[in-house]
Symmetry: C2
Subunit: 280 residues, 2 copies
């Protein structure tokens, strides 16, 4: 293998595409094909060299997981086919995303979490990372997704895309994490119920922790938790001085701008000046 | 997790579904949907408790792999997107198979080789096996497939379904391997060119080795080799006293009968009496 194609992964970006953006959360098994194609085009246009994409399940994974109580762990054998169906729903969505990315000439390869990871009480315990790291170094764009996985304690579990984002960011020393969601960022209050809520453009980790009670929860059932759960999952990465940018991926060009490092409406979370990180 | 659902994997069967059966090899990207649905039904009806399915690529994986010379390893960056497209073709075929299996209530989960395996000069070097083994023990049916994988020496390689079958059979101590192909079994000569060719119902490994020059090659280009290549790949498993049964999976009920252990037209390969294995 020629070494000159090795990508510098020290500038790694991890992009999360929320289930609420790539699917219609209110209807079962309904992809938002327009959004998927647009996002694939934005990612291709940004031409980012070192990138991992992680996507959520939205109206694909969550309803099946809920029906079979996969997130409660193994209770009885009727859940076995439910585990297969939950994973199947995720691969149906993932296939649409992969086809769109490759259709834009992005050298994307999915990494199926259930084939190379095992959790222990819901937290990643086994993670075969060599294929993923090698793909990244060769210039591929690995794509992961929230998945039903086997669990050493509970039989099986739901491994959220957010846990994947945070774990990969820390293990691969990512430069930043871009969270593409269906809101503009973190607000001073829940904008869906409080008209005085204002978007916070920049927040430190310590400020974020104080704000926690005001962070809005997801409207529709999400077995991995809503915005609140996402932020909690990201804290260990932020502690490692990895910058997090939350943008509204449902609006055109926000993901493109965030990938290019351009000014974009959203919330930037940094560890904070008191710990030596530079405010943005 | 309740322990009573643990499947006894000491009676493991590995079923190979050849690319020539599940696709139309002469036309690109053409699944044989009728065969896929029929085979899923036969597998479900057999109700085998400990089963791994491995399928080939047929008209999906092979043409793309050939176009981008993926089996030659990494030569230049133009192959990067070709690697993604080769894998994409395999997942398109795999998705059809998974949907058919789960549609028959088989608790199938695919294991994506490129996400958990790395080859070295084309031979499996890294294989994260814990999720696969745990799936099997819990009663799932893991499904693997020939795939484009990363290679420690050559950048990337084609990992054939046949290498997967043989490796898994040895590592998991399978009871037998069923090879579902588009011919009735091994003949005394190539039946496509020699009318005097007769089906061999039972052959020992030493007899097989003597027969090698007469074993027919696949009609259409197959980057992983045809029947000859398949048999070579299986030799290490046969050496470990794992019985191999070759059947024509293009004909109804052969896979069902083989899975049930019923009498079926085909070729049985045993290590042979001289080494203590029982002739069938």
């Amino acid at each position: 293998m020629k070494e000159n194609i090795i990508t510098n992964i020290s500038k790694l970006t991890i992009l999360k595409l929320g289930g609420s953006v790539i699917t219609t959360k209110d209807s079962f098994f309904t992809p938002n094909k327009k959004a998927i194609i647009r996002l694939a085009e934005e990612i291709a246009r940004s031409d980012v060299k070192s990138l991992i994409i992680v996507h959520g399940g939205g109206s694909f994974g969550h309803p099946v997981a809920k029906q079979y109580k996969i997130n409660k762990g193994y209770k009885d054998s009727s859940q076995i086919i439910g585990f297969s169906k939950t994973h199947q729903a995720m691969t149906t969505l993932n296939k649409l995303i992969m086809d769109s990315l490759i259709g834009q000439n992005i050298p994307a390869i999915e990494i199926q979490p259930s084939s190379c990871m095992i959790t222990k009480s819901g937290r990643i315990q086994v993670m075969e990372q060599r294929p993923l790291t090698k793909l990244l170094r060769m210039g591929f764009v690995p794509v992961l997704y929230g998945d039903a996985v086997l669990d050493a304690d509970t039989g099986f579990a739901i491994l959220s895309g957010d846990q994947l984002v945070s774990t990969l960011a820390i293990q691969l020393n990512a430069r930043h994490i871009i969270i593409g969601t269906d809101v503009d960022g973190i607000c001073t209050a829940d904008p869906k119920i409080d008209l005085s809520a204002k978007l916070i453009h920049h927040i430190s980790l310590s400020e974020l922790k104080k704000l926690q009670p005001n962070v809005g929860k997801a409207k529709v059932t999400d077995v991995t938790g809503g915005m609140f759960g996402k932020i909690i999952e990201l804290i260990p990465a932020i502690e490692q001085k990895i910058k997090v940018i939350i943008v509204n991926a449902a609006k055109s060009n926000n993901v493109y701008k965030a990938l290019k490092g351009e000014k974009v409406v959203g919330t930037i979370i940094n560890k904070g000046v008191e710990n030596g990180a530079k405010p943005n």
